[in-house]
Structure formats: structure tokens, C-alpha cells
Symmetry: C2
Subunit: 257 residues, 2 copies
């Protein structure tokens, strides 16, 4: 019974896409069948695994607006065994306005994914930098949420708002939603600011913060230009290893290893 | 007659807020009276200049939904002489859905700013990482747009969509809208990827790219935690100097120096 995890933070550029793709690739490398759903109209996750959003016959947008479609039709294979993708589409930009008067508009993604969740061990949803309808759909569809927190000052400011939104979703739309954890990203041990942010976040959120931190690592930012996760570009790199460690930590927390 | 410049890019974390605040502070340091409008519900620009969005009596949201308000009432002083701010408000998150059936909803910000533009030499609008209604309002209100482009792979992917959106705005909502320029941000001369992005962007967009590049510089990311622009934290830092150079380049392009 696949676990659905949303990767969300309305702050831009904190490592949501990098986390979604590299964590998924790590879980796949550990033989867990994993699906990434690209719920960001920028379609960065789709291109990060080497796919072209324009070539996808169907996207998560189609599944949300047309419940008769079989979600399996939207699933694409990637270069990585056990890693699959449902692509994004630019039409997601208009979905919020299009669905203004639609009943249960927050549950469209949950309904779309319910028919296929049993075929995967994990389903990771990459969200856009916003708390709008599509991200709310992802949080309503998810069993838990991973919050990437960049080791920068602005990253702290937005956390309160995000956790408030998660509380509202838990009360009104998805009682089961848990916080899988906060993951510190782009950590540079040499920077005083980064160490300050780590101290603040661990002090405030305690064991809800993963032990594993993702260091700033050039292979993580180069991998998308090759259309592959970092584990395929350079499995020995600090970036790839850190995401493998994160995968293992999540598996332990879920008693799967 | 103040020039209104939108700082926009739907890709998250590329340096929109850092550019809006530090460019504005540099223009103010050169004795140009400058107003920053924070059109991002994250309110990062507002806190970057040391203000608390919750304490602002009025925000850009109020001016947009209530045309009878005098925009001067929303203007706040900052620690920097000649630098002023109109704060953001979390209510911006709901504006897109609230204004679905409102006539001329794309022109609300332009109308709100028209009464005060004469009082400033420059008005910079910090946009959120999206191409939704608020960013469209900013592009409709603006005379020109500055596009921060992070020296990373994903930054290139989104440029096409942004430039398409700008073309549509020029055709339908704002014929006068020009591209002030693309500014390369977080440039690290040691990284092959960064140099590749610089080459690609300069090759493709030629003289629409500013000569001035903004280097990755720790003072730029520390300054927000002190509630001030980098020029106040450390005017000699590479980050502060690069934004002063950008200000001078823009002034030259506009025959103001
Ligand atoms: N640990 C890291 N080390 C180095 N570069 C990184 C790291 N994590 C992410 N990056 C780079 O930083 C940029 C931002 O990361 P990413 O695009 O994953 O963030 P995001 O939160 O998905 O952004 P958006 O808000 O636009 O969706 C990308 O160019 C990415 O390649
Ligand atoms: N040149 C730079 N050198 C070092 N750090 C930088 C630089 N420019 C921006 N930063 C830092 O990188 C992060 C992202 O920058 P910023 O918040 O300005 O981007 P943004 O485009 O406004 O993000 P959003 O899409 O969330 O609005 C911030 O923590 C900022 O302090
Ligand atoms: Mg992303
Ligand atoms: Mg910003």
C-alpha cells in the first residue's frame, strides 16, 4: 500500500525538486518501486529525470480534471529501474481559477492517485513554490509531508505559515496527514549563517528534523542538466550519498528496513 | 515621473527579493528617491528592510482591493534615507481567487500606484515565484521588467515561459512594457555550470543581459537577518558593490547619469 509523501515549501528555490527526484531515485536504488508526481507547472522534476513535458501524453493536470482517465496511462518510465514519473503540464497554472466553483476541488489529486497507489511503495509529489490549490491538493492526497528547509535566513520566516497551512489541511481535508520531517538543504558547514539556521531549526522542531542534512554539492546542481538524478551522475558524490542516507533514515522511521 | 520596474521570475529562489531590495537601496544611496512594493505574500522584501508586515497599517493588497484608499498612507519609511516600502500581506494569497469575476482585475496595481508614481524616481515591485494574477498586475503596472537569472540549470528552462508571458502582457495589457534587462545572479566563477549558464544566456539574449553580474556573496544572504540591505551591513562587500554597479548601469541605460 504505497505511501504518498508531498514535498512542499512555498519558499522558492529551497530544494523541493532536488529532494523529490534524488530521494525517489535513492528509494528506487534500494528496490522500492517509486513514482514521482510533478505538480509544479515549471515541470522541473519531469526534466530532471530526462523527460520532456511536451511529449507526455497525459499529465497530473489531465488526471485531476478528468476522473475517467486511467492514471496508469499517465505513468512514464525513467532511466532508473523502479523509478517512474507522472509529468507536469503548463495547464496547471490555470487550474486554480478553472476550479473555483468545482465541488471537492481540493480532493482531485487524491482521487486521481487512489487507483494506482497500491502499485508503488512510495509516491513523492513535487510541489510548486506556493500554497495555492495544487499544493493543497498534494497535501490532501498525501499521508505525510517532507519540508525542505534551505540553510538561509528567509527559509525560517516561511516555516510558520507552512505549518499553519498543514494544520488547517489536517483539520478540514486530511486528518491522517503527518509531518514526515524537515530536511535541511544546501548546508555549507563553513558558513556561520548556515550553522545558525541549523541550530534554530533543530532547537525549535527537535526530532521532526531529519538527522541527515543535504550539503551544498555541485553534482546536485549539475545532474538536472544531464537529465538524471545525482546517484546516476556520480553515486560517490556527497550529494548523492546524502540523499541515500535520507532514504535510509525515512525507511527506518517507517520500520521498512 | 517615477519609473516602475517589476522584478519577476516564476522560478523560485533566483534572487528576486535580494535584487529588489539591494538595487533599491543602491538607487537611494545615489540620491534617487525609491519605493519598493512587496507583491509577494511571503513578505521577504518587507522583512529585508527591517519592517514587520503585521505592523503595517496598509499593504499593497489593501490598495488593490480598495481604490478609495490614498496610497501615500501605505508608504513606510526604512532605515535608509530615500528608500521607502509598501508592505506585503498574507491576504495576497487569496487575491487571485477573490478577483476571479472582477472587471479589469489585472489593472488594480497599476491604478493603485498611478497616484504616487510622481513622488518617486523609481518604484521596484518584488514579485512572488509565480505567473499568477499578482505578478500579472505587477507586469501591467510596470514600465519595464528586470529578470534575475540564477546561474543554475533550471533557471534557463523557465526563461522561455516568462518571456512568453511578457509578450502576452505587452499585446493585451501594457503596450509600453519593456525588458529592462536580465541580471545573472549567484554567479560563482569557479563553477563550470555557472560559466556555462552565463555563456548560454549572453549568447541567446545578447545586450538584453546586464554587464553587471551579481556574485554569490555571503553578505547578501546575511543582510536580511539584520533587517537591512547589504550596502548598510557592509558597503565594501562584493555583493553590495555589485548591486551599486547594477544601479549605475541602469542609470546609464536610462540616460540618468
Ligand atoms: N544541495 C544542493 N547543492 C547544490 N545545489 C543545489 C542543492 N539543492 C538544490 N540545488 C540547486 O539549487 C536550485 C534550487 O533547487 P530546486 O530547484 O530543487 O528548488 P525548488 O524548491 O524545487 O525550487 P522552486 O521553488 O522553483 O520549485 C537548483 O538549481 C538546484 O539544482
Ligand atoms: N548573490 C547572492 N549570494 C548569496 N546568497 C544570495 C544571493 N542572492 C540571493 N541569495 C540568497 O539566496 C536565497 C534566495 O534569494 P531570494 O530570496 O532573494 O530569491 P527570490 O527569487 O526572491 O525567492 P522567492 O522565489 O522565494 O521569492 C535567499 O536566502 C538569499 O539570501
Ligand atoms: Mg521545484
Ligand atoms: Mg522573493
Amino acid at each position: 500500500m504505497g505511501k504518498i509523501i508531498a514535498i512542499a515549501n512555498q519558499k522558492g528555490g529551497v530544494g523541493k525538486t532536488t529532494t523529490a527526484v534524488n530521494l525517489a531515485a535513492s528509494l528506487a536504488a534500494l528496490d522500492f518501486k517509486t513514482l514521482v508526481v510533478d505538480a509544479d507547472p515549471q515541470a522541473n522534476s519531469t526534466s530532471h529525470v530526462g523527460l520532456d513535458p511536451k511529449e507526455a501524453a497525459m499529465s497530473i493536470y489531465d488526471l485531476m480534471v478528468n476522473p475517467d482517465l486511467a492514471p496508469q496511462e499517465a505513468v512514464l518510465e525513467t532511466e532508473v529501474k523502479d523509478l517512474f514519473m507522472i509529468a507536469s503540464n503548463i495547464d496547471l497554472v490555470g487550474a486554480e481559477v478553472e476550479m473555483v466553483n468545482v465541488e471537492n476541488r481540493e480532493e482531485k489529486m487524491r482521487n486521481a492517485l487512489s487507483a494506482i497507489r497500491g502499485e508503488y511503495d512510495f509516491i513523492l509529489i513535487d510541489c510548486s513554490p506556493s500554497l495555492g490549490l495544487i499544493t493543497i491538493n498534494a497535501l490532501t492526497a498525501a499521508d505525510s509531508v517532507i519540508v525542505p528547509v534551505q540553510c538561509e535566513y528567509f527559509a525560517l520566516e516561511g516555516l510558520g505559515k507552512l505549518l499553519n497551512t498543514i494544520k488547517i489541511i489536517q483539520q478540514r481535508l486530511n486528518k491522517e496527514l503527518q509531518i514526515e520531517g524537515l530536511v535541511l538543504t544546501m548546508y555549507d558547514v563553513r558558513l556561520r549563517l548556515a550553522n545558525q539556521v541549523v541550530e534554530d531549526v533543530r532547537g525549535h522542531f527537535k526530532d521532526r528534523v531529519f538527522e541527515t542534512m543535504i550539503p551544498r554539492n555541485i553534482k546536485l546542481s549539475e545532474a538536472p542538466s544531464f537529465g538524471m538524478p545525482a546517484i546516476m551522475l556520480d553515486a560517490e558524490s556527497k550529494g548523492a550519498v546524502s540523499y541515500l542516507n535520507l532514504a535510509n533514515e525515512i525507511l527506518q522511521r517507517n520500520d521498512l528496513v
